[in-house]
Subunit: 430 residues, 2 copies
C-alpha cells in the first residue's frame, strides 16, 4: 500500500510527474478518439481550459515553471508496450479488439501536440490547437495536472503529521461513504473522477478502497491506467465534445439540427450493447428526445449529466414508454455532481424501474472539503473543452444554463434551432 502522506511530503515537486502515462486518461476519450480518427480525423479543433470557479486564482497558486514542466512531461509520453498490449488484448464491455489495428498503430506513435499557455487576470489561459484526435487527448491530462498542482501548492508547507492526518481524515470520509453505499441493494457504481482528482495516488487509493469496500457493486473506473494496474473494468462511452464539434461543423440550421443524431449514427455503426448510451443534454434533453429517430430508442441506455437528474431520468422513461420500449431493460447512468446522499436517493427512486448505474466523479476522488484552513483543498469546477472546430465556435447549452458555453449569438441560434425555452439554473459545485 502506498503511504500517500509520506509520498506527498517527500515529493520532489520539480521532477515527480503528475501524469505518468498516455492512458492515465478516461476510457471514453480513447473510444471517442478512435471514432474521430475514423470519421473526422482532419477536423481542426481548439481545446481550452475554463475555470468556472473564478475565486480560485490558479495563476497565483501555481508556479508557471512547474506547470510548464508538467505539461512538457505529458508531451514526452508515448504509449508503452505494456499499455499497447493491454489496449489490444483486453476485453472491454465484453468485446475483444475494441481498438482496431489501424487506430492502435497511429496511437502507438502519438505524442501530444504543443500547448499554448498565458497568464491573464490571475488565471491560466491554456489552449491546444490541432487535429481533433490529437488535441482531444489533452483534456484529461491537462485537468489532472492543474488539479494536482493546486493540491501540491496547498500541501507543500504542511508538516509530516499534519499531512498524514489530512489524508487520514480524507480516507475516513471516503470509507464512511463506502459504508453508506454498501447498504444499497443492487448498487452499480464506477469511478469517473480522473479529471478532478486531488492527485493520481489519491484516485488510485479511492479506487482500491471502493473495490474492497463495495465488491461487485463497484463496476470499474474510467481511468485506463488504474483499470490496467488494478485489473478492473475500464468504464465510459462518449461525451459532449462529439455533438459539440459535429454541430459546429454543420453548414446550416438544418444540418445543425441533425448533428447530434449524426454523432450517434456514427457511434451506432461502431458499437453495440452497453456502449450504446445516449448523452442527450448537449442541446437540451427534452428537445433531443422529442426529435430523436426511432432507432435511438433501441439503444441500451442514457447518461444524465446535467439539470435535475430525476427529471432527466423520468423524461427518458417516458420517452422509452412512448416508443414502445420497456424501461426496465434500459440503463440510466447518473454522472453529474454526485455524492452519497444523491446516489442513495436516486438509487431508491429508480432501482427496479430502470437499470441504474452511477459514474461518481469529483466528490469521490477530491472530497477534501473542510479539511484545511480556508477550505483551500475544496474541489472546484475546472473543465477543458473544445471551443472551436475548423474555425467555428462550438456551443453547449446543457440542461443547466450555468454549464452553457459559446458566443452569445451562437447560443441564441442554437436555442432557436433546438427549440430550447427557459431552463432552471443549478449551481455548479464541481
Amino acid at each position: 500500500m502506498v503511504d500517500i502522506a509520506t509520498r506527498v511530503h517527500n515529493h520532489n515537486w520539480k521532477i515527480d510527474p503528475i501524469v505518468r502515462s498516455l492512458i492515465d486518461t478516461d476510457f471514453y476519450k480513447l473510444l471517442m478518439c478512435q471514432s474521430i480518427f475514423r470519421n473526422k480525423r482532419d477536423t481542426r479543433v481548439t481545446f481550452s481550459l475554463i475555470n468556472r470557479t473564478k475565486s480560485i486564482r490558479l495563476a497565483e497558486l501555481i508556479d508557471e515553471g512547474e506547470l510548464r514542466e508538467q505539461l512538457d512531461h505529458v508531451r514526452s509520453l508515448s504509449l508503452s508496450r505494456g499499455e499497447s498490449t493491454w489496449l489490444r488484448g483486453n476485453t472491454f464491455y465484453g468485446k475483444r479488439q475494441m481498438f482496431r489495428p489501424d487506430f492502435m498503430e497511429w496511437f502507438e506513435t502519438l505524442k501530444l501536440p504543443p500547448y499554448h499557455l498565458e497568464k491573464r487576470d490571475g488565471q491560466y489561459e491554456l489552449t491546444f490547437e490541432g487535429a481533433w484526435p490529437e488535441v482531444m487527448l489533452w483534456e484529461i491530462p491537462a485537468l489532472a495536472v492543474l488539479m494536482e498542482l493546486r493540491s501540491r501548492a496547498v500541501t507543500k508547507d504542511m508538516g509530516k503529521f499534519e499531512l498524514e492526518v489530512l489524508y487520514a481524515r480524507a480516507m475516513s470520509r471516503v470509507w464512511e461513504k463506502v459504508e453508506k453505499l454498501r447498504q444499497l441493494d443492487g448498487l452499480r457504481l464506477a469511478d469517473f473522477g480522473t479529471r478532478r482528482r486531488h492527485s493520481f495516488l489519491w484516485q488510485d487509493w479511492c479506487v482500491q478502497a471502493m473495490l474492497e469496500g463495495l465488491g461487485t457493486a463497484f463496476t470499474g473506473t474510467s481511468n485506463c491506467r488504474i483499470a490496467m494496474r488494478r485489473d478492473i473494468e475500464a468504464i465510459g462511452t462518449n461525451a459532449h465534445e462529439l455533438p459539440m464539434v459535429y454541430a459546429a461543423l454543420a453548414e446550416d440550421d438544418a444540418a445543425l439540427a441533425r448533428a447530434p443524431y449524426n454523432v450517434l449514427s456514427d457511434w451506432h455503426e461502431e458499437h453495440d450493447g452497453n456502449l450504446r448510451v445516449i448523452l442527450p443534454d448537449t442541446y437540451g434533453t427534452e428537445s433531443f428526445l422529442n426529435n430523436a429517430p426511432d432507432w435511438l430508442a433501441g439503444w441500451t441506455g442514457i447518461r444524465v449529466d446535467s439539470g435535475d437528474p430525476a427529471t432527466g431520468a423520468e423524461a427518458a422513461i417516458r420517452w422509452w414508454q412512448e416508443r414502445g420500449e420497456d424501461p426496465r431493460d434500459k440503463l440510466v447512468i447518473f454522472s453529474d455532481g454526485l455524492d452519497v446522499d444523491k446516489i442513495i436517493k436516486l438509487h431508491h427512486q429508480f432501482a427496479g424501474r430502470v437499470k441504474v448505474s452511477f459514474g461518481w466523479g469529483t466528490l469521490l476522488t477530491n472530497d477534501f472539503r473542510g479539511l484545511t484552513r480556508d477550505d483551500s483543498l475544496a474541489p472546484f469546477s475546472l473543465v477543458c473543452k473544445a471551443i472551436s472546430a475548423n474555425g467555428r465556435p462550438t456551443v453547449k447549452l446543457s440542461d443547466n444554463p450555468n454549464k452553457a458555453m459559446g458566443p452569445e449569438d451562437e447560443i441564441a441560434r442554437y436555442k432557436r434551432v433546438f427549440g430550447i425555452g427557459e431552463q432552471a439554473a443549478i449551481d455548479v459545485l464541481v
Copy 2:
C-alpha cells in the same frame, strides 16, 4: 513514516516481536530498578497479571502458543550496546550519569527470569517470581505483549483498506485531541501510554504526532526506547510497587505505618529536583499527607494517580500551604485516566496555582473506542502488580476502592493502620 496499516496487514504474526528491546519499557521502572538494586536487591517478589475487565476473556482471544512465543522472545532480549550507551551517556532530568556504573554493569548482563503461564476461567494467569529488580522489569513488556496480541487478534481478519481506514480514523482522533490541546497556554504533557498501548508502532506514531502538533508543550515519553529513537526526554519517577513491597516487608504495624515514608527517604538520598515527586495515594492520600515528615513538603511535586484528581490536587495545595511552602513552586502531575476534556478542565483549574503537568496514558496510545464492530478494540484495564514480597501479600488501597488489591484481612489491617475511612468509588475504565 511507517505505514501502520500495511505493517499490520502484512505481519507475520508468529515471528514479528512485540517487544523489541529491554528498554521498550517505562523510564520509572529503570529508576526504581536501580533504587531496588541498591536497597532491596535480594527481596523475593511475585508479580502477577490482573485483568480488571473480566468481560474481555483474554485466553479465548489470544492463542497460548503465540503468547508464549512473545514472552520467550522477551526473555531472549538483553541490552544492546547502543541502548547501554544511551542510558550511560544521556542527561535525564538535567542530570548526567543517572544510572550508576554498578547498576549498568548488572543491567547489561540481565535477561528476564522465567514466567509461569496458565489458563483459568477464560483468563491467563501469568506470574513472575524472583529477585525484585529482575521480575519487576517484566511488568511493562508483559502488559505490552498482551495488549498488542489482543489488537492483533482483533485486526487479523480485517481487509487492507478496512485496516487503513481503522488507523486513519484513530489518527484523525488523535489529531483532534492535539488540536484541542494546543489551545492551552502553558500546557505540559508527556506520554505515559506504554503499558496499555494498542501496539508499539501506534505508540511511536502518537508520540511523533504529539511532537509535531504540540511542540514544546509535549515534554517527552515514559518509553525509553521511543525517547531514544525520537531523541526526546524520557519521563517518569516512581510508582506504587515501592511502597507496596516496603509495606509488605514491614514486621509490625508501626513499621507498616513508616514504610511509605521509608521509600521516599531512600529516594531522597538518590534523587533531587524534578525526580522528587511524591506518589501519596497507595494507602490514601489524606492520611499520607497528614502523617508525612516535614522534609517531604520540601519535595518538588506530587503525582495524582487515583480518586478525584481535583480533590487530590487541592489536598496537596492545602498541605503545602500548611507546611509553609508556596504551591506555585510545586509540581502537580496528573496521570490517572486522562483524556482531553479532563486535561483541559484540570489545566484551567490549576494552571497558575501550581505547576501543572500531565502524564497521559491509555486514551493517548489506545483510543480505538467505537472504531470496530462490538467495540472489540476498546482499551481495557489490565495491570501487572507485585502481589507478594518475601512470601507476604502486598496491599494497595488507593484513593479509589475499585483500584484496591490484596487479601481482605490485610486490606482491613492496612485501613486501620493508615486510618482510612469511607472512600468514593470511581469506575476504572482504563
